[in-house]
């Protein structure tokens, strides 16, 4: 099991510094705001779903801890090309991984590094917050 330090050093710090898709979209089709009221962190998430119903673009903005930022950053890269049901399924799998209800498997791809966080329940919320925003966004078509 990775310690918190290793987790930070392996991937979190890197995404915190250079978050992927940290931007607003030109023509989003879905959007939502995520918030962790206990720490005041916020994420604004935008998606563009194409005619075929696949996620074409994802962008996020906001401020938060390295864990939530890295999670949001990796989420944006993991979602590309998925259908909405597939995206929601991935969100469920991610949630299950972090709450210790499921082991990591190949379907999670790079996201499985977050497994180490399951030992720190108070931080799990930081990692799942962008995914909650995703669920919300998929309900709010623009």
């Amino acid at each position: 099991m990775a310690t918190m330090d290793e987790l930070y050093q392996s991937v979190i710090i890197e995404h915190d510094r250079s978050p992927r898709n940290f931007r607003r979209l030109e023509a989003p089709t879905h959007q939502a705001d995520g918030r962790n009221p206990l720490c005041g962190d916020e994420v604004h998430l935008e998606l563009r779903v194409d005619e075929e119903g696949r996620i074409a673009e994802v962008g996020f903005q906001g401020r938060g801890c390295a864990v939530s930022k890295a999670s949001a950053s990796m989420m944006t890269t993991a979602l590309g090309g998925r259908t909405l049901p597939e995206a929601l399924e991935l969100a469920d799998r991610f949630q299950a991984l972090l709450t210790g209800k499921r082991e990591a498997d190949a379907s999670l791809g790079k996201l499985k590094v977050f497994q180490g966080l399951a030992a720190y329940p108070m931080r799990v919320k930081c990692a799942t917050m962008p995914w909650h925003a995703l669920r919300e966004a998929l309900r709010i078509e623009l």
Partner: protein, 389 residues
């Protein structure tokens, strides 16, 4: 608890502002109650109930003298600061609230001293906080003259540690004819509070921050005010006579203590106050101040640690950010070393907005804090800086 380990390391507890550790005497008093006189109060004529009642009523006297010698009937036992403020909001303010009435709060209030007034239907208007972390007293004076229904102000800020000049504010409020509620949650553990001279009309705090148990706190109010207030909660022990047509109520403080209270909690709080009374509080205050100053220097020496600007009169709180690292990440990495600090908005979102920060890291000093704890914090922060380097 302070003898235990955290994440395999000896614990370094620097979160007393959130909840204090308990002296053994407090745990013993509660266990003794459950083992020897556990019974409900005010209703039984048998010995255990009688002992429980005497202990409960005795705690009221202990608290009354702890607060400078007020009348025991002015002490209402509640769950904590939050419930105390809600009681005043619902029972003192709401029944006489007119549209457009407002409560003067401050930019450094805890949510517990903002939201209850809003829920009671009042607007909240804040006294600004200066860049130095103090209340703007000129603004306070001006705002007091504009007719607020109440001034609700924190005695010591849980985020900045600032000790507010309550006597001065209360005098201003008195001139303006505005009653004053003081949130003493962070103050009573550090300062000697004398309510006979402070000038407040209501004062409240939580037991769990005063080395007592969770589930118990105190609302003190001037007797005339308490007597004029309608009861808030209804139930057993607060009534005089009940019928389906018309119910009359018991005198204060019972009017405000509906139902079975946290008897064991009150007995634990009594023990905590006795414990505190047996300490040399001047020596503790000096110890805390020395550590606080040492802590400031230790933090400044780390590099990349930015302390919030706070005044020198302080209840021993060190609040800071670390360049390039979010407070939650800082606290998580410190936790790896067994160091317990708080990260977040500390239930003061408006103050954090004023500071332009979503969150901060807070370390708070208590009688049982040692220099080694602060040295561990500084060493931990150096490691955090390395991880983020």
């Amino acid at each position: 608890m302070l003898r235990t380990t955290s994440r395999g390391k000896p614990i370094v507890y620097l979160d007393t502002a959130a909840s204090a550790q308990k002296p053994q005497a407090v745990l013993d008093a509660m266990t003794r109650f459950y083992e020897t006189s556990n019974a409900n109060i005010h209703r039984g004529v048998y010995q255990a109930s009688e002992q429980a009642t005497l202990a409960y009523d005795g705690a009221r006297e202990t608290l009354a003298s702890f607060l400078g010698g007020v009348a025991p009937e002015e002490i209402v036992f509640v769950r904590g600061t939050t419930e105390a403020i809600n009681l005043v909001a619902q029972s003192f303010l709401r029944p006489t609230l007119r549209p457009d009435d407002w409560v003067l709060v401050t930019e450094m209030e805890h949510h517990a001293n903002i939201v209850p007034w809003q829920l009671a239907g009042a607007r909240t208007v804040p006294v600004p906080v200066t860049d130095g972390g103090e209340l703007d007293l000129d603004a306070a004076r001006r705002l007091l003259s504009e007719g607020p229904r109440l001034l609700a102000v924190v005695h010591a800020s849980n985020t900045l540690g600032t000790i507010n000049p309550i006597a001065e504010l209360a005098a201003m409020a008195r001139n303006a004819g505005v009653p004053v509620l003081v949130d003493g949650a962070q103050a009573v553990g550090h300062l000697a509070v004398d309510l006979t001279t402070l000038g407040a009309d209501f004062y409240c705090f939580s037991g769990h921050k005063l080395f007592g148990p969770t589930g118990v706190g105190v609302l003190w109010g001037r007797r005339e005010l308490l007597e004029a207030m309608p009861p808030w909660q209804g139930g057993g022990d607060m009534i005089d006579h009940v019928s389906f047509e018309r119910t009359t109520f018991a005198p204060v403080p019972h009017k405000f203590e509906a139902g079975t209270p946290d008897i064991a909690g009150v007995i634990g709080l009594d023990a905590a106050v006795h414990w505190l009374g047996a300490q040399d509080r001047t020596a503790i205050a000096a110890h805390e101040e020395t550590l606080w100053r040492a802590g400031r220097e230790l933090l400044d020496a780390v590099g990349g640690v930015v302390r919030l600007a706070v005044p020198d009169r302080n209840v021993g709180i060190l609040t800071f950010t670390v360049d390039g690292a979010h407070p939650h990440d800082v606290a998580s990495l410190l936790d790896q070393d067994g160091i317990c600090v708080r990260a977040g908005h500390h239930c003061t979102q408006p103050l954090h907005r004023r500071l332009g920060l979503p969150a901060t890291v807070r370390a708070s000093i208590a009688p049982y804090t040692a220099l080694a704890d602060l040295e561990a914090l500084a060493a931990g922060l150096r490691r955090v800086r390395q991880v983020f380097a």
